[in-house]
Symmetry: D2
Subunit: 305 residues, 4 copies
Amino acid sequence: MPDYQTILDEIRDEVQPLLTRGAVANYIPRLADVPREKFGMAVVTLDGQLFQTGDATEGFSVQSISKVYTLTLALQSIGDRLWQRVGREPSGNAFNSLVQLELENGLPRNPFINAGALVVADVVLATRDDPRARLLDTIRRCSANPILHDDPQVALSEKAHGFRNAALANFIRSFGNLENAIDEVLDFYFYQCSLVMSCVDLARGFLFLANQGRCPWSGDTVLSPDQAKRINALMLTCGTYDAAGDFAYHVGIPGKSGVGGGIVGVIPNRLAVAAWSPGLNAKGNSLAGSEALERFTSKTGLSIF
Amino acid sequence: MPDYQTILDEIRDEVQPLLTRGAVANYIPRLADVPREKFGMAVVTLDGQLFQTGDATEGFSVQSISKVYTLTLALQSIGDRLWQRVGREPSGNAFNSLVQLELENGLPRNPFINAGALVVADVVLATRDDPRARLLDTIRRCSANPILHDDPQVALSEKAHGFRNAALANFIRSFGNLENAIDEVLDFYFYQCSLVMSCVDLARGFLFLANQGRCPWSGDTVLSPDQAKRINALMLTCGTYDAAGDFAYHVGIPGKSGVGGGIVGVIPNRLAVAAWSPGLNAKGNSLAGSEALERFTSKTGLSIF
Amino acid sequence: MPDYQTILDEIRDEVQPLLTRGAVANYIPRLADVPREKFGMAVVTLDGQLFQTGDATEGFSVQSISKVYTLTLALQSIGDRLWQRVGREPSGNAFNSLVQLELENGLPRNPFINAGALVVADVVLATRDDPRARLLDTIRRCSANPILHDDPQVALSEKAHGFRNAALANFIRSFGNLENAIDEVLDFYFYQCSLVMSCVDLARGFLFLANQGRCPWSGDTVLSPDQAKRINALMLTCGTYDAAGDFAYHVGIPGKSGVGGGIVGVIPNRLAVAAWSPGLNAKGNSLAGSEALERFTSKTGLSIF
Amino acid sequence: MPDYQTILDEIRDEVQPLLTRGAVANYIPRLADVPREKFGMAVVTLDGQLFQTGDATEGFSVQSISKVYTLTLALQSIGDRLWQRVGREPSGNAFNSLVQLELENGLPRNPFINAGALVVADVVLATRDDPRARLLDTIRRCSANPILHDDPQVALSEKAHGFRNAALANFIRSFGNLENAIDEVLDFYFYQCSLVMSCVDLARGFLFLANQGRCPWSGDTVLSPDQAKRINALMLTCGTYDAAGDFAYHVGIPGKSGVGGGIVGVIPNRLAVAAWSPGLNAKGNSLAGSEALERFTSKTGLSIF
C-alpha cells in the first residue's frame, strides 16, 4: 500500500500556488464568502483507514456532489425504469444548458447535469414520504457522521437566485417529464445542494461505491454491486460537467465535483478520495482539487485504466 | 378601388375546402372547442369603409396578435430604448425556442416571439399604473369597440398549461432581462393573449398602422408615422413565426397571426384586412386565413413589393 | 419628385465620418486593398433618370449581390420548382453557417445565404450550355453596360481561400442537393462573386425589380411581375444576412448587400438605389452604405411600409 | 481465470437472434454486401493465450477502429502537443456533426469523431515520410499478422461517397486546423478506414493498451504506460460515438467500434477482446457486438469499475 499520508501532505504543499488562481463561485453570497485559500484532502481505504491533510474536516457546501446520492435513492426506488426519464450520455454542453434539452424533447442527457438532477429529484419525491429525511439519513449513515446537516441559508439563496433552474424545471415539465409540483422539486433540489460535508465525510460517504455498493461500517447494502459499478461508470463519463473527458484523461478514475469546490473520486475495490478548494476553473470544477486528484493518481500509480 | 365585397365573398367560397385541413390549437380546451369550419374576413379602408364576409363579427382569442399592441405601448413608453432589451431580427427557429435565447444571452430576437413578448410585457408593466386597463383602452379605441373584453377562462387555462412560457420567463430573468416579478409578467402576458376580437375589430384596430400611426375615427395619434412604419417592417420580417419569409413571399404585406386562428394584414396608406379560421398549418398560422390573405393580395393586385 | 441630386450630395457629405469606421473585407488581398474612404451612390428612376454622387462610376466586386441575378436565372429556368431545393425563410444565423443546414438536412434556408446560393448556382449550371455567358449577358443588358466584366483575380483568390464554401458544397452534396460536380459549382459561384459593377451599374441593373420584372431600356421581360415582386420580398426578409430585420426596420425597402461594400435597394414602382463603401459593419454589410440608404429613405420619405 | 472459451461459445449462441436485427452499413456497396449473420469473437490475455469463436479469423473493414492506431502514431510523433489541435471531451452529437465544430471554431471535440480523426491524420501525414507504411507496419506488428492489408476498393468507395468527410476537412481547413492538402488528408483517412482485420487481429492488436503500452510478442514499446492509460480513458469516454455513456454503463470497459461491425475492448492488465457482427444499432455500433461485449463483462465479472 502506498504511503497515503505522505502523499497527501506532499500534494497539500504542491497545490498551494494554485489556491489563488481559481474563481470562487459567487452567484450566492454564502458561497462567495468562503476564503479561497482553503484546501483539504482525505482518503479512506476499503479496510476503513483514514488519511487526511489540511482543512479536511471543515464542512463546505457539497452542491452537485449530492446528485450521486439522489441518483442512488432513485435507483433504490425504481431501478432501471429511471432510464426512461433520463439518459446516460455525456452532454457535450455546459452543465445547465437548455439547448440540448430542447433538441432532445425534455429528456435530460444524464443525471448529473442540472436538468437530469431535477428529474431524479422528482423521482425521489414521488416515491417516499419524507425524501429529505431519507436523503439525510442515507448520507449520514454512509459518512458515519450522525450530525451531518444542511445549510438552510444556502438553500434560500439558491432559491432566490434559482431562475435558471426554475427555467429548466418548467421546461422539463412542458415536456411532461416532471410529476411533482415544480416548487417542491426545486425546493428539494436546493435542499440537496445545501448539504454540508467535509472531505472526510465525502471520502467515507463515497466508499460504498468502491465497495460493491456496501457501506463498510454500517454494513448497509446501499446499492447492488452492479448498480454501484454503473454509478461509477456514469461519474467517469458525466461526473465533472463538460470536463469529464479531461478528468478521465488526467485523473483516470470516476469522480464528481460541485461548485462549492469539493471533488470526490472512487477507485473501485480500493478507496475513496476527496479534495476541497473553493477556487474553480473555467469548467466549474475545483482548480486545485482537480490537480490534487490528478497528483494523487500519479503518485500512487492508481487508475482504472 | 377594387370591388372588395365581391372579392371577400369569392374568397370565402374558395377557402371552404381548406377549413377542415388545419389543426385547431388544442393545448387548452377553450381553444380546442372552437368549431373549425368557422371563417370570417373583413377589410377596412383608410376612409373608413368596412367590408366583411362570413363570421366576421364573431369574436375569437387573439393570442399573439396582441403582441402588436403591447409593442405599441412599449414604444409609447420608452421609445427606441426598447431595442436594448429585444432585437429586431427574424428568429429562424420555432416561435417558443429557448435555443437561440441561450446562444444570445437572454436577448430575445424580436418582440413577436414569445420570449420577446415577455420582455415587452415587462416593459409595459414597469411603466404604468394599470397596464391592463391601458392595453384594453388602447385596443377598444383603435377598434372602435367599447365593449371589447378578455376571456378570463382562456387566461386561466394558458396559465395552467404555461410551463414553456414560465421556462422562458425564468430563463430571461436569469440573464437579468426581466424587472418585474415573473408571475406578474406571465399573468399580464396571459391576459393579453386572452383578449377577444372579431375580424371587424382587428381590421379596424390595425388601421392606424396603415395610416401613419393615427387612428382615423378617434383621431388618436397612437404612434408616430416613423414608429408605425417600423412596426410594419417588424411584422413583415417577424410577424408570422418561422413562416415570415413565406408569408412575405406569398402574401407580400406586413401581417401578424395568432394561434386562435386570426391573422391580420396591413397595406400602408390603403387598408387593413383580417381573416379568421381556427385550423392551423404546420407553422402555427391559420391555414385558410393565410390562404385568404394571399388570395386577397392576388385578386386586388395590392402588395408592398 | 424629391430633389434626388441634392439628397445624394447631402448624404455623401454626411457619411464622410463613417467611412473609416468599418472594416474592409480582408479574407482575400484583392478586397483588402480597396481604399476604405471610397463612397459612391446612384439612383435611377423608373423613367430612366440617373442621379449620382461620389465614386458612383467606379467598379467594385459585387460579391453576394450577384445572388439576385443567379436567383433570377434559376427562376427563369425552373420557376417555382426551385423551392423544392431551397427555402424562403430568414436564417437567424451567420450567413455562412453550417449549423442550420445540418439541422434542416441540407435544404438551405434561402437563396441568399451561401448554401442557398450554391444550390441556385447548381440549378443555373444544370439548365444551360454556357451559364457564365448567360449570367454576364443578363447583367450587361439590365445594367445597360455592354463592357461589364468579371475580375478573374478575385475569383482565383476566392477559390484559394474558399474552404468554407467548399465545405458547404460538399455538405450539401452529402444530402444529395447538388447535381453538378462540386468544383464546377464552386467555380461558377466564385465567378459570379467576382463580377465588377459600379453604383450606376447596380442602380440600373436592379431597376427591373422596381418595374414589374421588365427592363425599361432593353424592353426585356426579365421576370414576370409576380416573380419580381417575390424577389423583392425575399430581399427584404433575407437580403442583408443576419441584419435583414434591422435593415427592414431602419431602411424599409428590399435590399441586397455584398462584402465588397456594395448595397442596393429597390423601391417598387419608383426607383433603384445603390451605395458603395468598402468598410463593413459587424454583420458584414457596408457600414456607410447601410447608413446612406437609411438616410435616403428618411430624406425622401420613401418606404414600402 | 474464467473459462473464456466456454463463455465465448455461450455468447455466440446467445446472440444469434440479434444478428438479423441490426442494419448493415450501406453507404458503400463493399460494406453493404457483407452477410449480416456473421459473428465472431476473440480474447487474448496478457500472457498471450488466445480464445475465439465463430467467424473470429475472418477479416472485415475496421473503419473507425483504425482511429486508435492513428492516434497512437500522432502521440508517438508530437506527444501532448496534439491536444492543442483536438480536444478530449465527448461530443454529445452524432459522430460526423459539423454543428459542434462550428460552435467551437474548428477544434474537434476528440480524436474519435471524424473531424478529430482528420486532424490526427493530418498530424501523422505531417511528421513522417511514408505514413501509410508506418501505420500498416505498426498494426501488423501489434497484431502479429505480417500479411494484414488494406482493401483498396473500400477506400475508393469511401472517397466516391465521402462528401461529408470532405465537408469536414474543408471546414476544419477554413479554421486553419489542417496543414496538408485536403485530398491527401482525406486519402490517408480513407486508407486507414479500409484496413482489413479479424477479431483475432484486433484482440491481439489492442493488447498493448492493456499492457502499459508494450506489445507482448514483439516487445515493442508502442506507447508509454501513461499514454496507453490515457488512450484507454479516451476510448471509454469517446470510443463509441454518441453511445459512449451507455457503453461505459453497460459494458464498463474502454472500447472502440467501427461501422464495419467491429468492436474491441480493453481490460487493463488483463486482456483485449474483440467482437464482430455487421448489423449496426441506431447509434452506429455493432448491435450484436455491443451485446457480446456486455455479456462478456457480465459473465466474467470483469470491469474497470
